[in-house]
């Protein structure tokens, strides 16, 4: 087995899904099975490549041009963490969609768009250059606009239209920010921008650009008050698409880029950290409270996503190594358990045809795999020990107390209790109540869907072990936090 230089892998993260997306269109447009096989193989390859890149870091100069002139791709511990989350969740979702997409027609288009979205997300994570970040961001979000509208039912079209308009507005804000940054610093490379900002300090135009970036990326990450598109877009999309959107897209193109720009490029100060903390608090509380009263499973989970993203941004906004580690650990955890919960909701919808909690019940006997994995996912997100969600929320609360923000810590604990409340509501009403008459004749869930859900549940359980010191420090979370707290990029 030849040893592959990890540096040559970096452009392949983007090139392989992009090429396969087009190849699926070219050869597999009428043959659905070939499209499915190609997609699953590509995602397996991507997941293996991201596992291989753990512990490595480096800069790749596209075209061989040296840094100020050319385009860079940058791999470090934070990027590795995100790549693992994106690609492994993508693998599970692609396995799931082999069976779930039987409900839809024109399936090979789905796989093309899915691969395009993966290429875009990988590109955002690996980008070392502000404009390339914007271009891959656009690729990923345009693919997701089309995927949300995939089934062309009433609610999908309406949700996708709202999503497109708000998404285009936020991309426009981001582009204005990029224009301002280029005008002031004269370069687009992230490391060079960081160096120039460190020399010259942040005057008003740069603060304006930073503010525009915060607004634009908060739209993408669905922080309150920029969250209006998410409760419509995520429930209306087909279940695998909801899992990808809620599980990885809002984090890879929202929270990750926000953290990257705030900590590594612009150099964050106390006021801006306070802004992030307050945004996080607002999202946590608003998302949690709005989730309790929902009757639709996926809409409840969508509001829950807003709440959990608030936790992450609160952790990041604390600015201390413990807080940042907690925020990043919660990011990876949420990627796994939220996608798992959305896949469960999709399995329930596939089997019963409804998403309304009032019409469901007693599914723990009829859909055993779904019920078991949903229990794992719910306990993780609610923060019950020893599951992974407990550890990440504990770290965030401890970091709040350590920095002296007792009110934030109390709010975090209260929102955790609210999370427990609505998760228990879903578990009780959907799985443990009495089976209604209409649902007597259900079959079990199809094998691929069960396999995907088991894969993600195992990932959740494996992540709960990542809190132990022997695993945490050299492994991902500690290294990622070190990247962030190291401050401005060196060359």
């Amino acid at each position: 087995m030849m040893s592959i230089d990890y540096q040559t892998l970096m452009p392949l993260f983007v090139a392989i899904p992009l090429g396969m997306s087009v190849l699926v269109q070219l050869v597999a447009r009428r043959q659905r099975v070939l499209a499915e096989i190609l997609t699953v193989i590509t995602l397996l390859l991507l997941a293996l490549m991201s596992c291989y890149s753990v512990g490595h870091s480096g800069i790749y100069h596209l075209g061989g041009w040296p840094t100020p002139v050319g385009i860079d791709m940058r791999l470090d511990a934070l990027a590795t963490l995100l790549l693992l989350a994106v690609n492994i969740v993508g693998l599970a979702v692609s396995l799931y969609s082999v069976d779930y997409m039987k409900l839809f027609s024109a399936r090979s288009h789905f796989y093309s768009l899915f691969l395009l979205m993966m290429a875009g997300m990988n590109g955002v994570v690996l980008a070392g250059d502000l404009f390339n970040l914007y271009v891959f961001l656009e690729v990923a979000t345009i693919a997701s606009y089309a995927l949300v509208a995939f089934g062309c039912a009433h609610e999908e079209l309406e949700a996708s239209f709202k999503y497109i308009v708000l998404g285009s507005l936020s991309s426009a804000l981001i582009l204005i920010g990029v224009a301002l940054v280029y005008g002031i610093t004269g370069t687009l490379n992230l490391a060079h921008i960081a160096a120039r900002i460190a020399e010259n300090g942040k005057d008003i135009p740069l603060l304006l650009a930073f503010g525009l970036f915060i607004c634009g990326f908060s739209f993408k990450a669905a922080l309150v008050p920029f969250h209006a598109w998410l409760p419509d877009a995520h429930p209306a999309a087909p279940a695998p698409v909801s899992a990808m959107l809620s599980g990885v897209l809002i984090k890879a193109v929202g929270v990750y880029v926000l953290a990257r720009l705030a900590f590594n490029v612009f150099g964050i100060s106390a006021n801006e950290l306070g802004l992030l903390r307050w945004l996080g608090l607002l999202s946590m509380v608003a998302g949690g409270l709005l989730a309790v009263g929902q009757k639709d499973i996926k809409r409840l989970f969508a509001y829950s996503s807003i709440s959990q993203v608030g936790f992450m941004v609160l952790g990041l906004g604390l600015g201390t190594p413990l807080g940042i580690a907690g925020g990043l650990y919660h990011l990876v955890n949420h990627a796994f358990f939220k996608s798992l919960l959305f896949l469960n909701a999709g399995a329930v919808e596939y089997a019963t045809g409804t998403r309304n909690l009032k019409h469901l019940g007693g599914l723990d006997r009829k859909l055993p795999v779904t019920a078991a994995t949903s229990l794992v996912g719910s306990m993780s997100i609610a923060g019950i020990p020893p599951f992974s969600g407990f550890w990440s929320k504990l770290i965030i609360v401890l970091a709040c107390i350590e920095s002296g923000y007792y009110a934030f810590a109390a709010a975090a604990v209260l929102v955790s209790i609210v999370t427990l409340a609505y998760q228990l509501k879903v578990q009780r009403m959907a799985f443990f109540a009495v089976l209604p008459e209409a649902l007597q004749g259900l079959r079990r869930e199809p094998p691929m869907m069960a396999l995907a859900m088991i894969l993600l549940a195992m990932g959740c359980i494996a992540l709960s072990f990542a809190v132990f010191t022997g695993l945490r420090e050299p492994w991902l979370v500690g290294a990622a936090a070190q990247v962030l707290t190291a401050g401005i990029f060196g060359n």
Binding site: A15, L23, Q25, H61, G63, G64, A106, A149, F150, G151
Partner: protein, 176 residues
């Protein structure tokens, strides 16, 4: 309803048809010129591709949809579109595989006296060609599929509507 359907199948009147018959050649040629000389003069893949697509759109508007589809059908456009992107990615990958350097490195050398001529600039002309192919066929495909909807009367066109990549035309078609 019937006038727009007639317009789409038969095109516009005799004046438009005659002028188009003269103009479509030069417009297409201009688009190809923009793509080919894209590494020396302003233009390149994007602009040239748009002009090429506009030549075919002009033919569609003037002579009707059937005449344009006989020249450049939806299936052919979709395949050319995908091929263009695959050529572009292959160019990048050849930079590592063949020349042993980075992705998208310029592995074709240009001798000093051949600068600013047509066959110079390394991989850039090939990249421009791939881009022109992709943008031209993609734009024409988008135009054809968007005009295939029959809005007044909520009917979809009775022609067999084909797939297309990239944008979201999820028409309910049969699967194999």
């Amino acid at each position: 309803m019937s006038t727009s359907r007639k317009l789409r199948s038969e095109g516009m009147g005799m004046t438009v048809n005659t002028v188009t018959r003269w103009l479509k050649g030069p417009i297409l040629l201009f688009g190809i010129y923009l793509v080919l000389y894209g590494h020396i003069t302003p233009g390149g893949g994007f602009g040239g591709g748009v002009v090429i697509a506009s030549a075919f759109i002009l033919i569609t508007l003037a002579s009707g949809e059937r005449a344009a589809q006989q020249l450049f059908s939806k299936g052919v456009a979709s395949r050319l579109d995908s091929t263009g992107l695959l050529i572009f990615l292959a160019l990048g990958w050849l930079g590592t595989a063949w020349a042993g350097a980075y992705f998208y490195s310029n592995f074709i050398d240009t001798p000093e006296d051949a600068l600013f001529t047509l066959l110079s600039g390394g991989i850039m002309p090939i990249a421009n060609l791939a881009l022109g192919l992709k943008v031209g066929s993609a734009l024409f495909l988008v135009f054809t599929l968007l005009t295939a909807f029959q809005i007044a009367g909520h009917e979809v066109d009775d022609q067999q509507v084909d797939d297309q990549p990239g944008t979201d035309e999820h028409q309910a078609e049969d699967e194999s």
